[in-house]
Amino acid sequence: MLQSETGPRIAEVDQAWTEGAPRQAPVVSRAASLRTWLPVTAATVICLGAHWFVSTTEPPAETRSYFIFLWSVLGVSIVLAAAQVGWPSLRRWMRQMGPIFAAALLVLVGWELITAGFRWLPLPYFPSPAGVFQSLINDRALLFDSTWHSLILLLGGYALGVIAGLISGICIGWSSPVRYWGMPVLKVVGPIPATAWIPLAMVVSPSAVFSAAALIALAVWFPVTMLTASGISNTRASYLDVARTLGAGRRYLIFRVAIPAALPSIFIGLFMGLGASFLTLVVAETVGVKSGLGWYVAWAQGWAEYGKVFAALIIMAAFFSTIMTVLFKVRDRVLVWQKGVIKW
């Protein structure tokens, strides 16, 4: 802190600031980015070839939509390759994502060959990508409906758990009497997995959806409370001292000093809570609630429709990952003042 500050240094920083920080934006040449993008187009062509080769043994109804899908991927990849010529930010994105897309397409090829091609895996349980894609399209209405129900249940339970967790975490972190009485409760009740309460919750509550929301809230509440409380109680004393000498009262100390100082820790709690909420959601839907993606998977499995099972799993992956990404974006927005936050 006692580094000496020299005139030129100020001028330098000043300039860098007013002109915008010199972000290291790599200049990506058109040819280089095309080289990293070409594998995507090539992988799509391989996909098409593999599918054409395999599909001769499958009923055409199963394979038509997958063909259409692959042809559109090919079309889009060619259009993108052409569009990047005059669009530097797209070029940068393509250069970064090209290898990932190509690898994903090759995974599809491998999957197709292992299942429909060589039939190495027992068939009803492991359908080909074409079959899964067909199930996805055929059952889209029910899948959409299930996703919607899952979303409502998840967000309801998560919001409830976050609000409860923030309130109890702030109280426990700030006030020592509350900490004295609250901590033992937290230590005993908190570590029980929320799913362990399911049998009890089903008996006690009149509505399965309601008790599922309560269980998700419970699963979220524990980590959020824990990390909020530790964040608040670890607020640097000097920040509180500064605020006191500036004339701050208790409200300011809690809401404008301790809570902002605890935000990095609170966000860790929010992420842990989110993970716990996914788990609790799926388990609750599988065993009790009669809607949602968890229910859909169990239901499709009951009818031995494994194409639908995989379709639902794919939707679930996209669904959870999107929600996670949204939370990361919120975190990045809220914690801009921190240096070196991890990007998702």
Binding site: M1, G7, Y239, D241, V242, R244, G247, R256
Partner: protein
């Protein structure tokens, strides 16, 4: 004590203050950090506090700010004893301690926001940002600032409350010589305009002579006041005048500067 004017209300009296801390190696025993400090500052007086590292200067400032309480002794501002922190006694800490989640502008506003008077006094925020020369950094977060810039923000943040008593703990220590002299003049200008009572901790003898009415020298830990030296030079002072240099020589002599391992 009959007619106590508004000026007197900002005088500072410290009587026989002692403060001990648990010893770091043996928490059962306590070690004295301040041993019977008595010091009075008239309203509007600017006093410098000089002493070796660890002699309890920051501890004394925390006591005056009301952040800690003494083991024994009495601290009073005007006719009231100090019982806790208050916006009337501003403290610029040795570390800037800016709130990292607030921009420069919001850090400077913090005192006004904490006292719910931001709305009426918003115009002052720009004034104080100009004062410390950080207008172009208004929307920067503290981690973008150098140590010296951060210290300037901390200074503005304390000044905006117009405290009656301002406690400065090496506020200019991290600045380069040029900025430092400019800030000394700015602090003096504010002091003269407001007649704030100021207690300034510094390691820089020139700064102490240039700024203060009196210089208080503390001893090695446990801190006691060794002596008080009045600075009778006329303001504005000239750092290269013969009187200045003579006083400087005397003070260095007093501190046994050559023989003593005291880090000033």
């Amino acid at each position: 004590m009959v007619a106590e004017s508004a000026m007197e209300a900002s005088s500072l009296r410290i009587r026989e203050v002692r403060k001990s801390f648990p010893a770091p190696d043996d928490p059962a025993t306590r070690r004295l950090a301040l041993d019977g400090i008595s010091l009075s500052l008239a309203a509007g007086e600017l006093v410098s506090l000089v002493g070796p590292s660890g002699c309890g200067k920051s501890t004394l400032l925390r006591l005056i700010a009301g952040l800690d309480s003494p083991d024994s002794g009495e601290l009073m501002v005007g006719a009231e004893s100090i019982v806790g922190p208050n916006a009337e006694r501003g403290l610029v800490f040795q570390d800037p301690n800016l709130f990292p989640w607030l921009t420069v502008r919001r850090n400077i506003e913090a005192g006004l926001a904490a006292r719910h008077v931001l709305h009426e006094n918003r115009h002052e925020v720009d004034e104080f940002m100009r004062l410390v020369g950080l207008e172009s950094f208004a929307d920067a977060y503290p981690h973008h600032l150098s140590g010296g810039m951060a210290q300037r923000v901390a200074l503005a943040r304390a000044l905006i409350n117009h405290p009656k008593v301002l406690l400065l703990d090496e506020p200019l220590g991290a600045l380069d010589a040029f900025t430092r002299m400019r800030m000394q003049d700015e602090v003096l200008r504010l002091w003269q305009a407001r007649r704030t009572t100021m207690l300034l901790v510094t390691h820089d003898i020139d700064e102490a002579i240039y700024m203060s009415d009196r210089i208080v020298i503390m001893t090695q830990r446990p801190g006691r006041i060794e002596r008080t030296i009045p600075v009778a030079l006329r303001r504005p002072r000239d750092r290269s005048s013969a009187d200045f240099l003579q006083l400087r020589g005397e003070i260095l002599e007093l501190l046994h500067f050559a023989g003593n391992a005291v880090a000033i």
